[in-house]
């Protein structure tokens, strides 16, 4: 593995918001490598740029300057639609607020990314059912989000993120809305899925307990990487 380029490589990535006096440096020259299969947690106080880092890595946002290599390919200059294609084919997202479509069944929610992949309907349904079974929601395929608990909703979101078979799972405070027991269940699920699927996970969190599941913890302050710590546990 040593000779391979890292899956994700950021070099001098800067993201500016606003102009002139109101200019905000959300990211200020970030250098970061994430290896294939690695589980990285990004921590930091609010306003430290951890969410912006996540958005840039997740191709929801683009750096103002700097390099972003994904599997060795420069992608910092991609336009909106090209970034959409990258998200569609290589990335999966889960959010603190779950972000499921309301009044839409679990199955339909999980199918959503597959629709944009242009997968035929029968295959889509099969894949979505499989993904729901994988997160332990077999039998709840036709429930609406409003009929599911928070932990179950986050499982649907995980199924949706993984249905398209992405390389990287981006998780933004995935346990922020859950109690400790549900949080642990979700983290255990993520860790086991990561093992099964050789998934790379990038997670933003402010909870030390959750960050402890990661291989490496990155601490951000004022748009820069302040420190890095490797966890003793080997995944």
């Amino acid at each position: 593995m040593a000779g391979d380029p890292p899956l994700i490589r950021l070099r001098g990535v800067t993201r500016l918001y606003g102009q002139g006096a109101a200019e905000v440096r959300a990211l200020d020259g970030v250098d970061l490598d994430i290896a294939r299969g690695e589980f990285v947690a990004i921590m930091g106080p609010s306003g430290s740029g951890k969410s912006t880092a996540m958005n840039v890595i997740g191709c929801l946002d683009r750096p103002t300057s700097g390099q972003y290599l994904f599997e060795g390919v420069e992608i910092a200059g991609l336009d909106r639609d090209q970034r959409a294609l990258l998200r569609r084919n290589y990335l999966g997202f889960i959010f603190q607020g779950y972000n499921l479509l309301p009044r839409t069944s679990a199955l339909d929610n999980v199918e959503l990314p597959l629709i944009y992949k242009g997968m035929p309907r029968a295959e889509r349904i099969a894949r979505a059912l499989e993904a729901l079974e994988m997160v332990g929601l077999k039998g709840r395929e036709h429930h609406d989000p409003s009929q599911l608990s928070g932990g179950q909703q986050q499982r649907v979101a995980i199924a949706r993120a993984l249905a398209g078979d992405p390389r990287v799972l981006l998780a933004d405070e995935p346990t922020g809305n859950l109690d400790t027991r549900r949080s642990v269940e979700i983290m255990d699920l993520l860790v086991s899925l990561r093992r099964q699927r050789e998934l790379t996970i990038v997670m933003v969190t402010h909870e030390d307990d959750m960050a402890a599941y990661a291989d490496r913890i990155i601490w951000m302050v004022d748009g820069r990487i302040d420190s890095e710590r490797r966890n003793g546990k080997v995944a």
Binding site: L85, F95, P102, G164
Partner: protein, 405 residues
């Protein structure tokens, strides 16, 4: 993908069924009024054409009047000289182009019989009128030549008059009073229904014109002459010949204008068709404005929908939807919405037209081309008024959209 998008759009619309219905109500009303107007308009045009065909296209109408005879500013100083029966006879025998010339005078009179009392139209004419007007009797008989010539007190009733005066009784052979004269009922006309303009054609009593002149009008005047042109003669040529002869009969000098009008029923028909066409076109234009308003309603609600569903759009963008796909989704939704409105409007409009046709006694003639056009137009409304909100949705920033409450 398009089918998939349409399916999703349909689902989104049905999720908010009541709001969707209220949204398309403008389109429904617009399309329904256009369809109803145009269908009724075409029906009445067909009716006019049929009426004229029934009357015959070889009929000319001759009336006192003429271009120089319009009432001047000083009042009725320039009333045209009336026609009389001698003139009609001279005209009929003086021209080969004329097959028959039937004199007709119209008036109103109160009919009294057995305590019933009814005011109706009088059509005073001679024995050839029924044939000329192509109007059959359902009972009794026509005037004889002798009755017509001598001015006998005989009359033929229209269906409405029969119903008002005699109810269920057989009127043939009964007597009734027309103003100051007593008159024997000899025939009953077949019911015709309403005319193109909605007047009841059966509300009439026929009597010999001499009787009318002597006993009711108190003069020798003839109101109109219905001329049936001989076979093989163009009505235009006959009209020219009639004009020449009439000028001679009425001794009109070369410098003077005609003091009569020759009216070609064919021209009258095309004029009527034109008028009804213009009228229904005008009404359809007004209805089209309501379509525009309906379109704005759709745009409004789609904009609200884009705002409400900002987070949904964010989610779609996050899982890899491209701007074009979000645009398509909202555009298709607007189109499906307005097409549903269009279909509802078509059904409603045809229903209204069918009911109106029945009440107006005109044929119900739905035109597939108009229906198709309305369908296409409502799709167009969806495209035009859906585009702006759809573009607004497609331009959303995924991060902003995901954060939206």
């Amino acid at each position: 993908m398009l089918w998939e998008t349409a399916r999703l759009a349909l689902r989104a619309i049905l999720r908010n069924a009541l709001r969707s219905f209220l949204t398309v109500l403008g389109i429904v009303i617009g399309v329904a009024s256009v369809i109803a107007m145009v269908t009724v308009g075409q029906g009445s045009q067909a009716q006019v054409t049929a009426d004229v065909a029934k009357l015959g296209t070889n009929i000319l109408m001759l009336r006192p009047g003429g271009r120089g005879m319009a009432p001047g500013p000083g009042g009725g100083a320039s009333v045209a000289r009336p026609f009389d029966l001698r003139m009609v006879a001279r005209l009929e025998h003086g021209l080969d182009e004329i097959e028959t010339a039937a004199p007709v005078s119209n008036g109103t009179a109160t009919v009294v019989a057995g305590g019933e009392n009814y005011r109706t139209q009088i059509t005073a004419t001679d024995a050839r009128y029924l044939e000329a007007a192509n109007w059959p009797l359902v009972a009794g008989r026509n005037f004889t030549e002798a009755e017509a010539r001598s001015g006998a007190a005989a009359c033929i009733l229209g269906e409405t008059v029969r119903r008002e005066i005699f109810g269920g009784l057989d009127p043939i052979g009964q007597s009734l009073r027309l103003e100051a004269m007593s008159c024997k009922v000899i025939g009953l006309l077949a019911a015709k229904g309403a005319s193109s303009f909605g007047s009841d054609q059966d509300d009439v009593v026929l009597m010999p014109i001499r009787t009318f002149q002597r006993r009711i009008a108190g003069n020798d005047d003839v109101g109109t002459v219905y001329i049936r042109v001989a076979d093989g003669v163009a009505t235009e040529d006959a009209a020219v010949a009639i004009t020449y002869l009439m000028r001679e009969i009425r001794r009109i000098g070369p410098e003077e204008e005609d003091d009569f009008d020759v009216i070609d029923m064919k021209q009258l028909a095309s004029m009527l068709t034109q008028i009804t066409g213009v009228l229904s076109g005008l009404l359809a234009a007004v209805a089209a404005v309501s379509l525009l308003v309906g379109g704005i309603g759709i745009m409004n609600i789609m904009l609200v929908s884009v705002t409400e569903r900002t987070r949904e759009i964010g989610i779609r963008l996050a899982v890899g939807a491209q701007a074009r796909q979000v645009l398509m989704q909202f555009l298709v939704e607007a189109i499906v919405l307005s097409l549903m409105g269009g279909v509802l409007g078509i059904v409603l409009g045809l229903g209204l037209a069918a009911v109106a046709a029945r009440f107006m006694a005109i044929p119900f003639t739905p035109d597939p081309a108009v229906v198709l056009l309305a369908f296409a137009f409502s799709a167009l409304v969806g495209v035009i008024f859906g585009f702006f909100p759809a573009r607004a949705a497609a331009r959303l920033d995924p991060i902003e959209a995901l954060r939206h409450e």
